[in-house]
């Protein structure tokens, strides 16, 4: 079995928790699963974006060995374990770490109910944080007229970085620093969002899976009970990807 599939070969399948998933040569495991509506938990992946492989929530076992589903290439006959109790427990621990490393005050967050991190955590039955809270003191950048940047909720998924580069052609964001010091930086003379080239209509301003980058003056627009994850489980096919708040597509 080769890792790379020759593109002239017909599409074939791999096994995901015992079910055959078809793929097109060049697909990653996550891409192929997503296309057929099979849920592999993810936070830093978005269809149409290059994979980042940073959140590790999509960790799976490929032929018994751990891998990130968003970066592992699909190939014929792979045996992929996804929804096993052990993988789910590992993902829950990752989610708990993400929560304690930031300041996630969901009851006062405008993204609540439309947040991929929050919905993924409830899906994994995360009842509490388990670990000790860091309570980091991170800045809020409210300098932009239309977009708020709250570093306290940023999970460093790099989606805004990739969207700004690849889709908006602007290069507004980057991730700087290492380890616990890693943080999102803004490309502008002052380092402030208000002095950057970001516009509220940019993909980068709309792609954030959490409440770190939020369009202003739309907060709590959708009443509780009608928000994306009030109406759909995060595991429902194609409900996961963030779109601008207030512009939620109705997932089918």
């Amino acid at each position: 079995m080769t890792r790379y599939t020759n593109s002239s070969q017909p599409a074939t399948t791999f096994s995901l928790d015992g079910e055959e998933v078809p793929f097109t040569p060049g697909d990653t495991v996550l891409q192929a699963a997503h296309r057929v509506g099979r849920y592999i938990p993810h936070l830093c992946w978005h269809p149409g974006m290059h994979p980042h492989g940073s959140c590790r929530l999509c960790s799976i076992k490929v032929n018994g060995r751990p891998a990130a589903a968003c970066t592992a290439l699909a190939s014929a006959g792979l045996q992929v374990e996804n929804q096993t109790p052990a993988m789910q427990a590992q993902r829950k621990a990752l989610l708990q770490m993400l929560f304690v490393e930031g300041n996630h005050f969901c009851p006062s967050c405008e993204r609540s109910g439309n947040c991929l991190l929050q919905a993924t955590a409830s899906h994994h039955e995360m009842e509490g944080p388990h670990f000790e809270e860091f309570y980091p003191a991170r800045p809020v950048d409210a300098s932009h007229p239309d977009v708020l940047l709250d570093h306290n909720r940023c999970i460093l998924c790099g989606l805004c970085v990739r969207a700004s580069q690849a889709q908006d052609g602007k290069d507004v964001f980057a991730i700087a620093g290492h380890g616990i010091e890693a943080h999102l930086v803004v490309n502008s003379p002052s380092g402030k969002l208000g002095d950057s080239a970001l516009s509220v209509d940019d993909s980068a301003a709309q792609i954030c899976p959490v409440g770190a980058l939020l369009p202003k003056r739309r907060g709590f627009e959708t009443p509780i009970g009608e928000r994306r994850y009030d109406r759909h489980s995060v595991a429902d096919a194609h409900t996961q990807e963030a779109t601008a708040q207030g512009h939620e597509e109705d997932p089918t």
Partner: protein, 198 residues
């Protein structure tokens, strides 16, 4: 299918059923808004069913000041001062099973939003610099007042917590599922539906 052998010993008489004792339950609110207690009361008339199985020890419902030996302690609110820590430790000593109820107890919740600021700054803002205050206002300083902690902290960082009931507040149905599971002798489990962080 097996048929009884004539020489088999007769089946023992059924074990006499023990009279079911009511569960002793205590509740309290630390640094919280009492919203979790209100949500608990939202179980409405189901409280009549509940009262068949539980009796309340220390709780705002009984107004007892000290907690006695209990099967179950439900605590809402986080730790913001020394008294909160003392009450929590008392509950841990007295309750067989301790439950952190709601966002404040589980993560510090909204009160923990003060954690990024220094205490002198906050006290000054509230008691001295606030608009409309007379000049010369002082920060309260009475030995009766419990000392504030530098940061609001969740309960599991100070004592062992057995269960977490998330939500701000947890819904009445979460309380109901949790308590009925426990009373029936099942390990309480909230499915992802009732798990909410808002």
């Amino acid at each position: 299918m097996s048929t009884a052998h004539p020489h088999h010993a007769p089946a023992p008489p059924p074990y006499p059923a023990l009279p079911r004792r009511k569960l002793k339950v205590a509740t309290c609110s630390l640094a919280g808004c009492f919203g979790c207690h209100m949500s608990f009361l939202d179980i409405d008339e189901r409280i009549l069913q509940l009262i068949e199985h539980v009796e309340f020890d220390r709780s705002p419902l009984t107004d007892l000041k000290e907690v006695g030996r209990c099967d179950l302690g439900l605590i809402e609110g986080g730790l913001c001062n020394a008294e909160n820590v003392e009450v929590l430790r008392d509950f841990r000593r007295q309750c067989h099973t301790l439950v952190a109820v709601g966002a404040c107890a589980i993560t510090g919740g909204l009160p923990a939003q003060r954690n990024a600021m220094s205490l002198p700054h906050i006290l000054g803002e509230v008691y001295q610099q606030r608009e409309g205050l007379k000049t010369g206002c002082a920060i309260p300083n009475d030995p009766e007042l419990p000392l504030l902690l530098r940061q609001v902290r969740p309960l599991h960082e100070v004592v062992q917590i057995d269960y977490f009931l998330p939500g701000c507040p947890p819904s009445a149905d979460s309380f109901w599922v949790f308590l009925t599971d426990l009373i029936a002798g099942r390990t309480p489990r909230l499915a992802s539906g009732p798990i909410r962080y808002d």
